[in-house]
Amino acid sequence: MSMPISADLLDGVVLAVLKHDDAYGYNLTQQIQDKIPLSPSTLYPVLRRLKAQDWLETYDKPYQGRNRRYYRITEAGRNHLTGLLVEWTAYKKQIDYFLNPTQPQKEA
């Protein structure tokens, strides 16, 4: 995809994936890379920022003789995701009005 994904949207994508289940860094990257092209180092700053906002928390779990760091969404994170979804839906509708006018438009 040639269009850059905004930081807010990437936040939303990460939170949405974590809403289903906790994940560790590599696993999370894989899940998102499956659908969106993403360099392996992209998610570290995102996860750090989300954690600083208390939208997610971390815990360590032993795996093959080492500790693996897992990420878990918080209640505040779920609230933020809901807010993002509202904004994204409105934004998508505005753009679709012009780019995809064949779709039936519902009046807001």
């Binding site: 807010d8 560790y24 860094g25 590599y26 696993n27 990257t29 392996p40 180092s41 570290y44 700053p45 996860l47 750090r48 920022r49 600083a52 906002q53 208390d54 939208w55 080492r66 693996r68 760091r69 505040a76 994170g77 609230n79 933020h80 809901t82 807010g83 509202v86 904004e87 409105a90 505005q94």
Partner: protein, 212 residues
């Protein structure tokens, strides 16, 4: 290059960070490398870039300060989207990390401010609305009386007719005022919430910076 050398180099290049931040970044990418089976330096470079590239990317994120995108609203705001903004800001305020006593104080203050604002704006609104409605009511009554008197007391009827038309006129004049006032109240409300949120998030960012 071995994986150890790779991470040693990254660690050196991350010198501007404080030890905790450096440790956390290194741990994340070591974790990542092991989960992704990147067991040679070359594999690491292929996936994560050279130590220099990786460290530059990590450092870049730290230098991005609070210049978060101030969204420019190009579209005309209506009351509903203003309400939504208020809700989003409220949610955002609730999700801000704060010490509990500070949080309680802030919420009580916000609550008090909201009640005061609603009372003031509400009473002004009700006053305007009352004048509008009584204008219509008195106007209608006066016109009714005028019609009843027109055959017997012509002059009194004309007086009542004048009062009726004046009353209706006042009512009609105040309708746009009422509408404007409602919208202005919603807008100032939203502005007030944005202001609170900015104050709170500035405070938090200031704390983050001073931690370094």
């Amino acid at each position: 290059m071995s994986t150890d050398t790779y991470f040693q180099q990254v660690e050196q290049l991350l010198a501007p960070l404080n030890p905790d931040e450096r440790f956390e970044a290194i741990e994340y990418f070591k974790d990542y490398a092991q989960d992704a089976n990147l067991d040679t330096g070359d594999a690491l470079v292929a996936q994560l870039g050279t130590p220099k590239q990786l460290s530059r990317q990590i450092l870049a994120d730290y230098s991005i300060k609070a210049t978060e995108n101030q969204q420019v609203q190009g579209t005309k705001t209506n009351n509903r989207s203003t309400m939504r903004q208020i809700w989003l800001v409220l949610l955002a305020i609730l999700s801000l990390p704060m010490a509990i006593p500070l949080a309680i104080t802030v919420f009580v203050l916000i609550g008090a401010a909201i009640i005061v604002l609603i009372s003031i704006l509400g009473s002004i609104w009700i006053t305007i609305a009352a004048i509008t409605i009584s204008g219509f009511f008195i106007g209608g009554m006066a016109l009714y009386v005028a019609v009843g008197l027109v055959t017997t007391h012509l002059m009194t009827a004309i007086t009542y007719l004048g009062m009726g038309i004046a009353g209706l006129g006042i009512g009609l004049l105040l309708i746009p005022v009422l509408k404007w006032f409602t919208q202005a109240s919603f807008r100032s409300f939203a502005k007030f919430f944005r202001w609170i949120y900015q104050r709170l998030s500035n405070r938090r960012q200031a704390v983050e910076v001073s931690d370094k």
